[in-house]
Symmetry: none
Subunit: 199 residues, 4 copies
């Protein structure tokens, strides 16, 4: 999230906003997360470093902004059944995670732990919104009578998010098989929830 601009003086050139984001993505693709430097972004984009740091506090924020596309906040529309809702949810999660190469994901994750502020922002935006979606889906199932009581959202979240995370981040799984895998994950979670109430 770029720093705000008080609306006084020369307005920011929005071409630059775009150039930063695009160049960052380019260079991430070319040189990988570890090989990305702010100087390189500035040079390639034909802008000054100050223009970057006026918008983002740190390099990590810049990458975060360039990578983590401002993500969906709404829980998926009611699909009628818990099974359908979980599948939709899992697909959204998978789409998020597949949006960036694995090295970027890993790098970002590391930076989130290195920089407390970034961690907080990540938790508040990304995590919180996902968690809300999970909660909403579960609550709908309770309302429908599919579940007796609402299971712990964190647990379900981990059951959905985790396998996909592992697939792209650790196991370097084929992303072509992702739709299929997504279905497996969703159904496994659904099966578990429907069979036995998970704490």
């Amino acid at each position: 999230m770029p720093k705000p601009n008080r609306g006084v003086g020369r307005p920011r050139n929005s071409d630059i906003d775009l150039a930063i984001v695009c160049t960052t993505r380019e260079l991430l693709a070319e040189r990988g997360y570890a090989g990305l430097t702010v100087d390189a972004v500035a040079a390639r984009a034909g802008i000054g470093k100050a223009a970057i740091y006026r918008r983002y506090k740190t390099k990590q924020e810049m990458i975060f902004a360039a990578t983590v596309h401002d993500l969906w906040e709404q829980p998926p529309p009611d699909g009628g059944t818990l099974r359908a809702d979980l599948l939709a949810l899992t697909r959204t999660i998978a789409a998020q995670l597949c949006g960036a190469p694995a090295d970027v994901l890993a790098g970002l994750l590391a930076d989130i732990y290195a920089d407390k502020a970034l961690g907080t922002r990540f938790a508040e935006t990304f995590l919180e919104s996902e968690r809300k979606a999970v909660t909403a889906v579960l609550e709908r199932a309770v309302t429908r009578g599919e579940l007796a009581s609402r299971p712990e959202a964190s647990t379900v979240h981990a059951l959905l998010l985790g396998p996909i995370l592992a697939w792209v981040l650790i196991l370097d799984g084929d992303r072509g098989e992702m739709p299929e895998f997504t279905r497996t994950v969703a159904e496994a979670t659904a099966a578990t929830l429907l069979l036995r109430p998970t704490s």
Copy 2:
């Protein structure tokens, strides 16, 4: 894995091997992954930087060696049922992941993507041995007749590893609840496998 030593000349001092590993862990705990420097390790351990770089090509290799404890290779003993085997397996995986703080895990993961050699080593040691254990457990279940056919090991691996990974790495879950959570993950996977053959 440290660089080798041709058996000629003065042998490496194994006290130093140990000191590097211990000091690295100490400093990781004190200052976090991002705050670790090679100079600090050398200074604290009372050794020269050369002694470190004689053993490890890069800082990352050092951290890797200090962190990824040369890990279990054996699949869990036969527990009699798929359910029991999966629980044991999941517990082993969880123990591995809980061995290091989250920031170290994240940092290591990022470095694995940054350094190809490290990535290969990680895949060959850590991943391969885990995968073999998963395969063994599944094969036992087929032999027992619990499963009709052996499911894809990668998928099951992701279903087991993923939620735990997400729990410690993303959701910053309470590690005290890990035993309980581990059980949930194992049972969810068991349920899925026993209900429907996963691809």
Copy 3:
């Protein structure tokens, strides 16, 4: 001679230019040539190492610049006689050589041989200007009729420079006696030239 700066962007801070030179001289005086480190210069001057290496390619260039004060170019004014001219010239040379402690002189000399670029610069600035002065003095003497033909400049240069060099660099002679010694050198050379034409 510092690296140039293309007039675009933030200009070099000339305070730093000065600080580097002064601090280098200070530390040379305090710790001697062999004890001088770039880190110490940076630390004492309160600047970053990069600011030094932006100006000088190597430590040696820095010392060179800090020590070999951009020196006089003009031959001494016409003193009326060869004897007088030689004395003036010798005094200038002696003043140059006494400007730095013996260890710095020796260190610099060694570095000049170690680094070809430095050697060239030394020859072109220091040596060439001194040689021109010697030539000019000798030519004046020929014009005056004191000498029948112009002697080889290199030889005369060696006769003037050498003894002083030996005095400060090898024999560790008392610098208090330098004025007297300078006179001796000048007169010895004058006597030789006036008696017999030196090749």
Copy 4:
């Protein structure tokens, strides 16, 4: 001057003594003074570093020993006249200085200032013996009646040594012209001494 050996235990291998000296000279010629490393000498000579440091306290002592051929101590034989004695003396000095490349001379000189012990040894051996020779020559001239009183030996030493030093060290003079130049230096000094009593 190598460290002594108490005659007990295995005796030193004199092949190694020679190998060190020869290899040092070789490498000095190939890579220059600044490029010489002890490891390289040991490797090239096929010996261990310890064998070197058992003989010489420091790298500089090794180079010193390999370079400064154990030099003449005797003043030149009586040539009958001051002029002839000075020429002989100058030739000896020139021979000494021409024995090593200029960069080695410069490097050695710098090291002499860096290492007090080496400086003392240099002064006591090289310098002192030269000075004695100068004194002896001057005294002979007084005895012969060529000179009224014995001039200051240091001064004469500087007048003889200096120009040659400058020739090889600073002016990078052609060493082929050395014999001629030597004569010039000797005669200039003789002329000065015979004309006027130098301090």
